[in-house]
């Protein structure tokens, strides 16, 4: 039983975890540096777009590798996608209402 289980269950290596940690540290550094540069002069709102893109990338690394989503069954991955989808509905619907209120 336990042999069969260890075959099926993927165990990520410490090297992978250290690599992901290093990537997360680099991204943290980049997001602080990017925030100190006035990117809005090139394109209004570019600072927040860059900050959130880096945050989404960091969160994806944590979910995929630290939380093993990459090696999880499809059922679990569906739950993760569904939670992001519901979050998107909430943000998108609320913002579209809020932004369009002035369009009388």
């Amino acid at each position: 039983m336990s042999e069969q289980h260890s075959e099926q269950h993927h165990i990520a290596s410490p090297t992978l975890y250290l690599t992901i940690f290093a990537a997360l540290m680099i991204c943290t550094f980049l997001t602080v540096v990017a925030a100190k540069i006035d990117l809005n002069q090139y394109f209004s709102g570019l600072n927040i777009i860059v900050a959130l893109t880096i945050a989404v990338f960091k969160a994806s690394l944590v979910v995929l590798f630290f939380m093993h989503a990459k090696y999880s069954p499809k059922r679990t991955q569906l739950v993760i996608i569904a939670s992001v989808f519901w979050l998107a509905i909430m943000l998108f619907m609320t913002m579209s209402d809020y932004v369009s209120r002035s369009w009388t």
Binding site: Q4, Y17, T28, T31, A35, A59, V62, F66
Partner: protein, 217 residues
């Protein structure tokens, strides 16, 4: 009742039993995503309504503490991931040490957070009767700055509460680990509390740029 990884009758294999526990944890975390999402939504709306005050108020919180805490918390996620690895590979001593390291880093995070809260207390930036954004600020500025700080304390406070609960769970894991309960066949509590800990890390990954990095140039 002590579970040690025996197969329950409703499952066909240990792997299926393990995946079911993990699925349940992920469904709980989905509800947590939406729990925090309400605050993130409120923040987004208010920030887009009062962009200038939010930017001014954000500049009064110390970027260095936020950046250090980001490093500390991601570091604790690394030690937690290593704890899960140690439990999967049957390294019992390493498991205990990685759990202790995670708890220590989590406590450091909360310690730094309390220093930050104290700074805000000294500066009269805690929403309430004694709130004053800066000397001579007009009523509207004070009101809108208070909105930022209410969200700052609400969001970081709810996050810190999750950290405190996580620290309690880690204490329990350390005790059970010292008893030698976790084996490569049975480590579901380590895995699931690990998932919770990483989730709390992800919340901070978004809080840090939104609260600390609005307008630093």
């Amino acid at each position: 009742m002590h579970r040690t990884g025996e197969l329950y009758e409703q499952y066909r294999t240990l792997e299926q039993q393990r995946e079911t526990a993990s699925l349940g944890m992920w469904i709980f975390l989905s509800t947590e995503v939406l729990f925090f999402a309400g605050l993130f939504m409120t923040y987004t709306l208010n920030r887009s309504t009062y962009p200038d005050i939010f930017s001014e108020a954000s500049k009064t919180i110390k970027l260095s503490w936020g950046a250090i805490n980001t490093v500390v918390l991601i570091g604790s996620s690394l030690t937690m991931a290593m704890a899960v690895w140690a439990s999967q590979t049957g390294k019992k001593k390493a498991l205990t040490w990685f759990l202790i390291a995670t708890l220590v880093l989590g406590t450091v995070f909360l310690g730094i957070k309390s220093v930050e809260y104290h700074d805000k207390y000294v500066e009269h930036h805690i929403p309430g009767w004694n709130f004053q954004f800066e000397p001579g600020a007009d009523a509207a500025t004070n009101a809108h700055a208070q909105l930022f700080f209410s969200l700052y304390f609400g969001m970081t406070g709810l996050h810190a509460l999750h950290m405190i609960i996580g620290a309690g769970l880690l204490l329990w894991l350390i005790r059970e680990s010292l008893r030698g309960r976790f084996t490569p066949e049975y480590n579901t509590p380590v895995e699931n509390i690990g998932l919770y800990w990483h989730f709390v890390d992800i919340v901070w990954i978004f809080l840090f740029p939104l609260l600390y990095l609005i307008d630093r140039h």
